[in-house]
């Protein structure tokens, strides 16, 4: 499929709209790509994409790309992000994975704090932990172990692939959090679109 080469200005407009977190006005687009016939470029891009699965659309003077509306059935209906495990849950999961089979009292002894009832429920609901019989001591405490689904999710061949204490120490993972984060910058999450508008 060949046609006339696409003008550089149009390509730049296309990339700027695509890379922006928020829909852009023609004036904002011009701040990225320099002055030119933004409106003409937008029309050309929209026409070029019209037959495809991605459309360039205008909403209230702002432009953005979106999935063609007839393909909306592919899209997520409910915007439900998987939730992050709580600190307590991920620690509990780690302890079960490293020490299994292990009772709740043993988990608490290792964590140094009590484990809320819901924590183990969450891990079982996620399918990463399951009950594994009882320890034959007074009180017969229930034991927990990790599941095959756990290994799959975390990309492990077996529990033996978990780094040992020495490995963790060498990797810097036994340091207090603040030390480990030192000298490490995170993206501040400011998107270019707002900058352009503010500039």
């Amino acid at each position: 499929m060949t046609g006339d080469p696409i003008p550089d200005y149009e390509r730049a407009v296309e990339a700027a709209v695509f890379a922006s977190a928020a829909p852009l006005t023609p004036a904002e687009i011009a701040q990225f790509v320099g002055d030119g016939d933004v409106a003409g470029a937008l029309r050309a891009i929209a026409a070029r994409h019209a037959p495809g699965g991605i459309h360039l659309v205008e909403r209230g003077g702002r432009w953005h790309f979106q999935t063609a509306s007839d393909l909306a059935h592919l899209l997520r209906r409910e915007r439900e992000e998987p939730r992050k495990l709580s600190r307590a849950a991920i620690e509990t999961l780690a302890i079960i994975a490293y020490h299994e089979p292990v009772s709740r009292a043993e988990i608490e002894a290792i964590r140094g704090v009590q484990t809320a009832k819901g924590t183990l429920d969450v891990l079982m609901e996620a399918g990463w932990v399951r009950p594994a019989g009882r320890r034959e001591v007074p009180g017969r405490p229930l034991l927990y172990k990790s599941t095959a689904d756990f290994l799959t999710h975390f990309g492990l061949e077996s529990r033996k692939d978990l780094p040992g204490i020495d490995d963790l120490r060498a990797a810097g993972l036994l340091d207090p959090v603040d030390v480990a984060m030192d000298g490490f910058r995170f993206d501040d999450g400011v998107d270019g679109g707002d900058d352009a508008a503010g500039g």
Partner: protein, 256 residues
């Protein structure tokens, strides 16, 4: 003890050596890194470098660092010892049987340098690529596709092992190791300086007030503390200070 001679020595540590050989240990990641830097200064292919020249440069560097009272980490000294061995082996007449042979030792060093250089180069080329989020950009807020298998909870391997590391760090018996860092405290310097000033009649170089036996970091600490102590004594009217020019010797005398 001759104050002027000591001062020359001190000045060399701060100025002369810095110009000549850039004795800046913090800039190197260990002896192999230093050797690679020296090898690259030969401006030839790493396959064609003169190992003997390289060894001599390294040993000269270590000597200079010692002369300037710069404390070298143990691994620099281990490398120096090994290179000194290599050098003497290379200079020995060929007939003498050695195991391993000097050629073999030299080749081994050369291979290691080539490997480090290759990986350093590879790292630079990787970083120079069109990186996602810097040079090329993905769609920042995609709609998301319909989930095949609903996963309510999310966590990755890094989070898992990091959490375990933190649990273990938190619950491990606290073991505090204070790194040995020998310093001369301001109080000590003040006491030492005012005592010694009482004995001196004439102008004396600040350097001559330092304990003669100290070297390295401790000497630097003693110099800094004594300088501050001198300022303090001058402020409280116990001594006078005199200096001809910046970086010239600083002279002290008890106030009459």
């Amino acid at each position: 003890m001759d104050g002027a001679a000591v001062f020359d020595d001190w000045q060399m540590g701060s100025n002369v050596a810095a110009e000549r050989l850039q004795i800046d240990i913090a800039g190197w990641e260990g002896p192999l890194d230093l050797l690679l830097t020296l090898a690259r200064n030969q401006r030839v292919d790493l396959k064609a470098i003169s190992i003997l020249e390289l060894v001599e440069q390294y040993l000269a560097f270590v000597e200079q660092a010692r002369g300037a009272n710069i404390e070298l980490a143990a691994d620099y000294l281990v490398m120096a010892a090994w290179l000194a061995l290599l050098k003497s082996a290379m200079l020995l007449p060929k007939e003498i049987e050695q195991d391993p042979s000097p050629e073999e030792m030299a080749l081994r060093l050369q291979l290691r340098l080539q490997r480090l250089a290759a990986m350093r180069d590879a790292g630079a080329r990787l970083l120079g690529r069109d990186r996602l989020g810097r040079d090329v950009f993905a769609r920042p807020s995609p709609e998301g596709v319909r989930t095949i298998r609903r996963r309510l909870w999310d966590a990755d391997l890094y989070e898992l092992i990091a959490a375990y590391g933190q649990v273990r760090a938190r619950t491990a018996p606290a073991l505090h190791v204070v790194a040995a860092r020998r310093v001369m405290s301001l109080d000590t310097a003040l006491q030492r300086l005012s005592t010694m000033l009482g004995l001196a009649i004439d102008w004396r170089d600040l350097i001559s007030f330092l304990p003669p036996e100290v070297s390295g970091d401790l000497r630097r600490s003693a110099l800094a503390s004594s300088f501050v102590a001198a300022l303090e004594l001058a402020r409280t009217g116990q001594c006078e200070l005199q200096q001809e020019a910046a970086f010239a010797p600083l002279y002290l005398k008890a106030k009459a």
